[in-house]
Amino acid sequence: MESLDQIKTRVETTIPGARLEVIPNDSPAQQPSLLVDPEHALAVAKFLRDDARLCLDYASNVTGVDWSDTVLKEKVKVKKVIKGIERELEQITETVRPGCLEAVYHLYSMTLKHGPMVLRMRTRNRSDQNRLPSLTPIWRGAEFQEREIYDLFGIVFTGHSDLRRILMWDGFQHHPMRKDYVEPDDYEYEPTAHDEVLEKAKRHQAREAGT
């Protein structure tokens, strides 16, 4: 299979206006991913499936990611004049990267037997603008998985034929896999609590002692 940069140039020439970005991956898995903007995602997906050299016709996994607002710290060396002497100082600049929700698609080709290719789509923000186009018309296997992402993360997929909760019951509020999901306080005694369970136990006991 071609590299992601080659795929990116070919998609950009075929579909004008598509904003793509190759996100590198430094982990041992070495799987860089292609970030697609939501407006052209359907056209890009159709191209990836129907192109003769790529022929990515199987979406093996569709999952969601919750990127919360992160503070990025950068150390910059700045020359400043202090007390008449020019010195080089390290200045830490903080930028806030706004959070978003993301859907990640893992694509394989059954006919040409290559893959995987990782495709990403990001929403604008985590609160009200959480709509993404559904790629179920292109890859039918994404149907249940997009329902799961809607259930657990809250991304609304437009164009999905049957978008409702799949793991939780229909009247469930909020989305459990988000980073800011608050679990109901139903801690039960555990004999060897440690790490997060220990934190949960302490909070529960504090709440019980308070009431």
Binding site: L167, F172, D186, Y189
Partner: protein, 204 residues
């Protein structure tokens, strides 16, 4: 009954038994389980019914598809909060006398997935359990042992008095309230008549 008299009579070819013994013998040797598997423990339950560890030789030949014809529910697998009302409903539909084996860690107390957002921490929160079978999953021999434990318990049940089974006691409840879906959890989160959270004496 006097054992000496029974031994003498049996040597003469006269077989004696109490009504209680016969009743319980008939009940314990023909327990029909409900076809009820939720997760991985169901695979071990199926293996127990297959050729190598045969459950049919204990009388559990036919796994009934309908709860109306079953008298044992082997809760095998993780009970999710979404599934819990259905489990209680099926239990209510079983006629008395009915028994429950909580098979595997998940049915006993939530198991390895206890901190999950959709896991019910043990089916004994809503229905009474007769035999707890630990394991993840328990081996087929362990399920057979649980089955035999249940048989022994049925044998020891007297027909009258305090220890009598639930179907002979008009005051004992046979049906349990079905939990409803709440905003984040089931309502009620547990049935207080059936289960209480374990209280631990804490040194302050």
């Amino acid at each position: 009954m006097d054992e000496g008299l029974r031994g003498e009579l049996s040597r003469q070819g006269v077989f004696t038994a109490t009504l209680e013994e016969l009743y319980n013998w008939g009940r314990r040797n023909s327990i029909w389980p409900l076809q009820f598997g939720l997760a991985c423990c169901a695979i071990e339950m199926i293996a127990t019914t297959m050729a190598r560890y045969d459950l049919a030789r204990f009388g559990a030949e036919v796994f009934r598809p309908s709860p109306r014809q079953a008298d044992l529910m082997i809760v095998s697998g993780t009970v999710t909060r979404k599934m819990a009302p259905q489990v209680v409903r099926l239990y209510n539909q079983m006629p008395e006398p009915k028994y429950v084996i909580a098979m595997g860690a998940c049915a006993i107390s939530g198991g390895p997935f206890k901190q999950g957002y959709n896991v019910l921490k043990g089916i004994d929160r809503y229905i009474p359990v007769d035999v707890y079978l630990p394991g993840c999953p328990p081996r087929p021999e362990a399920l057979l042992h649980a089955f035999m434990t249940l048989q022994r318990r049925i044998d020891q049940q007297q027909l009258t008095g305090r220890n009598r089974p639930r179907h002979l006691d008009p005051d004992a409840p046979g049906e349990f309230p079905v939990p409803q879906y709440g905003a984040h959890d089931l309502e009620p989160p547990m049935n207080p008549d059936v289960w209480h959270p374990p209280s631990v004496a804490r040194q302050s």
